[in-house]
Symmetry: D2
Subunit: 341 residues, 4 copies
């Protein structure tokens, strides 16, 4: 292994440069992982914009898979050459929340790509607790374990009964993972709403029973499909106005899963009488809570197809441009940085 590597360093908000930096030194319980594929996430854009809790300078990138090239002395059970998907979050396991199995609210939370050097680089130092060996998965697929683990957590929280019907707002990479997983999590029929017809076509291919354009007529269509509403409605848009409208489509005694990331300052209006009278549940879902291994199992088993969700594959040097494109809302589905060496 060389001493230096290429990395995309965000020195401060809005300033990113791809340059040579030292290869990370390993702690005794860490492995050095050569990044083979790393997905670009909306959170990376927020870090680039300065709108997230990152510490600068930072190498972003938290959805990734790669090959182990070196091992600290305390890392047992893994070998150089092992192919791994990596959980970015590092929880302390001794704070108030970790002790109650609420690791996603760890009070000493760290994350590769947010508070520690991440995957938009040739190598990452990854603690043993974050390594998950992969078998049949390609690296490009394995880079989806992280977002899928978020989706798994959301669906565990909003657990439906076998045979329920479901409505998903948003047919981006996240919405289409929700679509596929919810069909494996007991849903009978699933409707997907989005503005873009190309995404809706993909939704149909991936199992949507109804793929509905959000063109102003969707409300009537949804009433026709499900006069009593849907047992579960998932927001995968992060658009506050969509979340506010979504409540009306929840069946009595049903649930609304607030999964998309709305702007921090925005608020929506809800009727407490309606929540009471209709027994509604509004359920938030943040990141991953011990669902990474579940996502590995589901992907390895082929339960979810992620290849169709890859919109573009780029090199590290193309990342700055891709982030800018995403910031302007012009990006294709999921963009992945791949090691093409």
């Amino acid at each position: 292994v060389a001493k230096s590597m290429l990395a995309a360093v965000i020195d401060r908000p809005h300033q990113i440069a791809v340059r040579e930096v030292p290869i990370p030194e390993l702690q005794p319980d860490e492995a050095l992982v050569r990044v083979e594929a790393a997905g670009v996430c909306g959170t990376d854009v927020h870090i680039f914009d300065g709108g997230f809790l990152a510490s600068y300078p930072i190498i972003a990138g938290h959805e990734f898979a790669g090959t182990i090239v070196a091992l600290g002395p305390e890392v047992t059970g893994y070998q150089v050459g092992d192919r791994v998907a990596c959980e970015p979050s590092i929880s302390c396991d001794h704070c108030y929340f970790c002790r109650r199995n609420l690791h996603n609210h760890c009070e000493n939370w760290q994350s590769l790509g947010v508070t520690r050097p991440g995957a938009f680089a040739e190598y990452v130092a990854v603690p043993r607790q974050c390594l998950y060996r992969i078998e049949r998965l390609s690296f490009a697929e394995a880079a989806f374990v992280e977002p899928l683990a978020c989706v798994v957590f959301g669906q565990e929280r909003a657990r439906l009964q076998l045979g329920d019907n479901v409505l998903i707002f948003g047919a981006g990479a996240i919405g289409l993972q929700h679509l596929q997983l919810i069909r494996r999590a007991g849903a009978a029929q699933v409707a997907v709403v989005d503005k873009r017809s190309d995404r809706l076509e993909l939704a149909s291919t991936l199992g949507a029973d109804w793929a509905i354009v959000a063109d102003g007529t969707e409300s009537q269509k949804l009433r026709d499909i499900a006069p009593r509403g849907f047992k579960l409605v998932i927001d995968a848009t992060g658009v506050s106005a969509v979340v506010e409208q979504a409540v009306q489509y929840v069946m009595n005694s049903g649930k609304l899963l607030v999964f998309g990331v709305c702007p921090q300052a925005e608020r929506i209006s809800v009727s407490p009488f309606e929540i009471y009278r209709r027994d509604l549940q509004i359920v938030g879902s943040f990141a991953i809570r011990r669902t990474f291994s579940q996502a590995v199992s589901l992907l390895e088993a082929g339960a979810i197809e992620v290849k169709p969700l890859i919109g573009q594959t780029i090199t590290l040097s193309e990342l700055p441009e891709a982030l800018a494109l995403m910031a302007r809302g012009q990006a294709p589905m999921k963009i992945q940085v791949c090691n093409q060496g």
Copy 2:
């Protein structure tokens, strides 16, 4: 049994008269119950005001217990003289919702005291499915089975883990039932907030670990008590502004139970980002869903003390005045109409 009885008839909104009416005729699967105790509920005030889904003229009263004085031929398992608490709701058991065990959303829902003659009368015709024999309970206590069954349903929906801490807004008859039950449902410590110090004293007597006056300083006190918030926050006020403020006291990954009945037209403002980021659950709870027998068991076992919740005992002829008092918000804790003959 005589042919006529005294009843408080609401002929149309805002017009109530206590007068002689025919004793109800029984269907084959109904029992005639002499009302011994009947609680007056906020819903009765709404029916009096015209603000609920009642059909007029109506004899209100849906929280009651009494003695069986006659039986239809299909009612087996009960005898004249049996002391019973009565569930007011009658679900059809064959509609979309009943088939899914969501009886409180029955599409053919009927209710004694709302759509059928209720308990503010000397006698009520009660379908077999609504009869629950009582043993150790007095009639005055048994008239609390109905509201307690609502509280049981709310707490089943917002199920906490053993040892959680809880915050309750509102120390009226409902809030104090929530307080007592949540201590039997696994809570370690419970805080209660109300404006009235006499109610807070009762809350302390009934087990509240903290009884806090809502005088503008409660926010700081709650932060001191529970810096990370409460795992479960229950609104038992029905005041929209209280519900809106309550969200901030919910711990990450905790729940807000919207139990009080807010005015239909009011809305509150919530942050979808906060719901997402803090994994919040906002949970509504409407009426009773097959929890009546649970409430009977808990009351019979002495798990909940309801006698201290009785603010005043009146006769049927005093009911019109009591409703007016409640409409003006000047009523004491629970008012009960009791058969004193």
Copy 3:
């Protein structure tokens, strides 16, 4: 409608005759349903043998779908000509268990085909609460709603987490419904064990990741596949020795679902220390508990393929022979009696 119909009447155990009987008279809340397809179940064999709680003479048959040809005056929401699947169980909705939503333990339980005339006839009188309209389903498919509803109930009781691995013993009609449903209920990978290779081939076609012959080598194969065991093991054989052996394949903190119907007098041996030390759960599942509509939704949505499970289609007059074949254990997969008129 004529006055008489053909029916297979079991006059007493081991004596069955196909003969003309009066068409059932309707109660006001019943519909007359012309049977179009009726599955033959192991329970029918038990009734024929005298080993079940039937009242003789009885027309058996409780898995069926048909066409409404007449309606009692209280049956609203249905029309002559409607195609329906029929739930056989009739619960009272007012006994101890029904009041607690445990309808499958109703103390006044009745069942079409067990205690009341069933579907091995041209017509059946079906209470309104048992009617479920079907849409896209054929009658042959709709006759699978009843067994699937049992499978749904079992899987709701043994609810797994998304991504769990599952082992099923038995690849008969029930085992193959479990296989398909568990893949829609969150399982990542599923192993199926059976003695018959033709059934295992079908299991593979229907989604089994491993289809393993029970030839004495299965134990080692299961250890290789899942060294820590399976999170859920389902017995769909009803063979006591299989249930006893199945415990060892359950992962620590996993579940064994006892779904197959073992002989009443048989007992198995288990280690209470092992249950404690390995956090095992052994879970029974009896019949249907308000899961019929879920099964309708899942079948309508195409979540489960049942056509491949039909081993033979017969006429009513061939039923006695088919029962005898099943009693000798020589039957093919599911046998259906179909109206070919």
Copy 4:
């Protein structure tokens, strides 16, 4: 702090000596805790007998509380002088089971008092993840956090509905913790069965609705009390014959919690037909799974009284005799070793 301390060392099975040994050296993430109170558990007897997975020589003792007297450099959030209850189990947080929140099945499990030096000594080295600060609790009470955390886990696994009735076999220290907690976990009424009338008197004092002597007539009494059985039956005896008999008292759709530790080699006989037909659940519960903080909260809140459960307080030098007494089954309720210096 001195260099040596008094400890009860089990050098090999059946050989124990109280002697001077070196005070443990601290790892950077460990605190040195002076033991103030340590409960003696059946597991300690098994370690003494050689029947558990201990590594010899071993200082046993895993139920304890004490005072921090020294801190490793990585232990933040604690100070010398802090009073703490200590969780004995140390899970790795990166093995198959820990990653799925099943820490009690950790594949790299360690435990103070089993695989590492425990609390039958003047001092113990305790990893940071095992420290829980106590406030109102005395040390003698805090030494009950560990067994109570086991009880909490059992009751979380066998979660009942509000108002269920419960039967507990065994009124020893564990049975009486179950009794008290289940009344705070939603039970309406609780029956307790034991052979010893003194224990039953204590059970009545602590809230048992029925305290029944196991003298051969208990079966009829239990039938009289609960003709349909109990929704939850808990074995707290560890006697296989009791577990086998307990199944019959479980209500249809109810649960049997196998909590007591039966001898490893013993087996019981159960009917798989009965499990199926009556929808039974048999649930094991092993040790603690992230329930230590729940137990701290419940004890601090006074939800459970543990002082009446202390049968005898001894010094370290009296421990060998006490273990011998327990091995012969002649011990009083809980024995605690207390620092009386």
